[in-house]
């Protein structure tokens, strides 16, 4: 039976709350309101306001408090409503959570999970639509996950909670309504990328909200006889370079698809690693499809033009094949 990405995430949160009394949720309007994206809907009724804790509008302090609670023996799952707002919480994440294990000589560690919704596509304009996964993926001391499938939405939370270090989970707002069958057995891999479609001609490397668009592009290309391989990074830090390189070595061509702004995108890092390690295996220049370098506009046609789209991805793939 099919469930939505939203339901899968809620199920994972519910199971975590049941499994471990140290787990609690904290964030803005996750309780009585039911969650901005209804992910946490109903959980406060089942687990009460202590474990499903609504916070004031204080992104710096409640994320910092999540870090402190983790230091104090709890397993907090902190929700930041939108990645733009998470800029207000970067200090406790970068300067405390990510540093403490090393800076304390290994005495302390911070098992906090931070869920952040990210991405554009709902016409909510520049202050609610950006993507900063690339920034988070550059911070030593944390793990960064980007579930792009319903199964990953359900299965990545438990291993994230089991991880002794801070884990940031990015949920693309366009995925919440995605529906799919999920297997009964649980996966627990938060180490590897996954090949979502095997192919021979060009490797399309992506993650998160761009995966459905990339798969769509691959279907388009298939109609033209271009057999694209689609790699879903899944884990943005540490990157599973081996899987990416294996795909690129096989296809000898690669396009990286990523909704962060082109300059400084996560795609740039993936391309840099390919250029470092698979240079002699490439038959064509590397390419990327990212967001245009503009504050994401409100008007639908402009927002669409600013974001990666299947057609752009297919075009970039064709170009690597000289078509």
């Amino acid at each position: 039976m099919k469930i939505s990405y939203r339901e899968a995430m809620r199920q994972a949160l519910r199971e975590a709350l049941i499994a471990d009394p140290r787990v609690f949720l904290m964030g803005e309007d996750i309780g009585l309101y039911g969650g901005t994206y209804a992910v946490t809907k109903g959980l406060i009724d089942e687990f009460g306001p202590e474990r499903v804790r609504d916070t004031p509008l204080s992104e710096l302090a409640f994320v910092g408090a999540g870090v402190g609670a983790a230091l104090g023996g709890m397993r907090p799952i902190v929700e930041v409503m939108t990645v733009n707002f998470s800029l207000l919480s970067l200090d406790p994440i970068v300067n405390s959570a990510a540093c403490f294990r090393h800076m304390s000589g290994g005495q302390f560690h911070v098992p906090v999970v931070i869920r952040i919704s990210t991405g554009a596509g709902r016409q909510v304009a520049a202050q609610h639509s950006h993507s900063f996964e690339n920034w988070y993926a550059s911070i030593p001391g944390i793990k960064v996950l980007a579930p792009a499938t319903v199964a990953d939405a359900r299965d990545m939370l438990a291993p994230a909670l089991a991880d002794p270090d801070p884990v940031v989970i990015f949920e693309h707002v366009q995925l919440y309504n995605l529906e799919d069958e999920v297997p009964d057995e649980r996966a627990s891999d938060i180490r590897s990328a996954a090949v979502r479609r095997a192919g021979r001609d060009v490797s399309l490397v992506t993650y998160g909200g761009s995966l459905p668009k990339t798969l769509e592009a691959a279907r388009e290309l298939a109609k033209e006889g271009i057999d694209a391989e689609v790699v879903d990074l899944r884990v943005l830090r540490p990157l599973d370079t081996a899987t990416v390189l294996a795909s690129v070595r096989k296809c000898r061509r690669a396009v990286v698809v990523d909704e962060t702004w082109r300059t400084g995108s996560l795609a740039a890092e993936v391309m840099a690693r390919i250029a470092e390690s698979a240079f002699y295996d490439l038959d064509a220049p590397l390419a990327r499809v990212c967001s245009e370098e503009v504050p994401i506009p409100y008007a639908k046609h402009l927002e669409d033009a600013a974001l990666p789209q299947a057609a752009k991805i297919a075009a970039a793939a064709r170009a690597t094949l000289g078509r």
């Binding site: 309101y33 004031p56 245009e292 506009p297 402009l302």
Partner: protein, 331 residues
């Protein structure tokens, strides 16, 4: 569900001004009712935050400001923009995502900007406007410009560090900033008492040595008088001033809100304190308004809104080729 009695008592203004207040409240109401409808029809997208129920605040406050003053608002700013002088046409076109919109369709409902009336947006970061207002005040002070910067924000914003840092800076440097808090009791689904250890917001503001006033935000007269007093203090160069408007949001927070967090009866009780009907009743009681006059101004407001919709629908789309225009100055 007990709420304060509806605003009552004499309206200390001449008929014209009194009716101007009523007219602006009606204009906002009609404008937003149409926005809600257009949203339902899919013509407006993204987030839409209605101000319905809170109209007396924007109207009473804006009428206390000078045209040369600065205004910094939130994502719930339709009313502020319209009363400030932005045409409904350009506001509606913005929400329709048209090039004729005040922000060329780049901002939408949450980002109405208007240089002509010195409206510095429509800010969708809660508390994001406060530091900007402090800077605008600083700029005026350093340039010797006699101007007030009016900064609107909700009570939820007072939990943000931005509030704390901004009030301290404004008070420390005695800047001409008028802090206007629209306390509608909820921040999305979070009631004031669930977000502030001190729910008397004036005590919070006073802790920065800023003078404060708290008034009934459903009473356009109380709002106007308090804001007049506040802006006078600021304009005289005596530093910032804080006003709390006790008001209530009659509609959902946005179009994605099932209102699980409040009791329908509470909403109904507050509606007995609706800013429009209570004020028009007072004006009628004083003989400053007849039913005919009311119907006429309502009709005019509806017509103005309909023209705005027509303008928005006739609007054009910014060419996709111009997507990157105005990210930085074109050199």
């Amino acid at each position: 569900m007990i709420v304060a009695p509806p605003p009552a008592g004499p309206v200390p203004y001449a008929k014209d001004l009194s009716i101007a207040f009523l007219r602006d409240m009606v204009r906002i109401r009609r404008f937003e009712e149409k926005c809600a409808q257009a949203y339902g029809e899919g013509r407006i997208r993204g987030f839409l935050h209605l101000y319905i129920g809170e109209e007396a605040v924007a109207v009473g406050a804006m009428h206390a400001l000078e045209p040369a003053d600065n205004v910094v608002a939130t994502y719930r700013e339709h009313g502020h923009a319209i009363v400030r002088g932005l045409s409904m046409d350009r506001a509606m076109a913005e929400m329709y995502g048209k090039r004729e919109g005040c922000s060329r369709g780049h901002g939408g409902s949450m980002h109405l900007f208007d240089a002509a009336t010195r409206l510095f947006g429509g800010n969708a970061i809660v508390g994001g406007g406060l530091p900007l207002a402090v800077g605008l005040g600083l700029a005026d002070r350093m340039q010797g410009i006699q101007r007030v910067t009016a900064c609107f924000f909700g009570e939820g914003a007072m939990a943000e560090g931005a509030f704390h840092e901004s009030l301290n800076l404004a008070a420390l440097w005695k800047l001409p900033v008028l802090f206007l808090c629209e306390n509608n009791l909820y921040a999305m689904g979070t009631a004031l008492a669930r977000s502030e250890s001190q729910t008397d917001l004036c005590i919070k503001a006073a802790s920065y040595n800023v003078p404060t006033l708290s008034v009934d935000g459903q009473d356009v007269v109380a709002v106007h008088e308090a804001t007049l007093q506040g802006q006078r203090h600021v304009r005289e160069g005596r530093g910032p001033f804080f006003v709390e408007y006790r008001t209530y949001r009659f509609r959902a927070h946005s179009m994605f809100d099932s209102e699980l967090y409040r009791d329908k009866r509470e909403v109904e009780a507050w509606k007995t304190r609706g800013p429009l009907h209570t004020f028009s009743a007072r004006l009628k009681a004083e003989g400053k308004l007849t039913e005919e006059e009311f119907l006429a101004l309502d009709k005019a407001a509806v017509a103005e809104v309909d023209r705005a919709v027509a303008f928005a629908e006739a609007g054009t789309l910014e060419p996709v080729e111009d997507l990157l225009k105005d990210v930085v100055a074109s050199s």
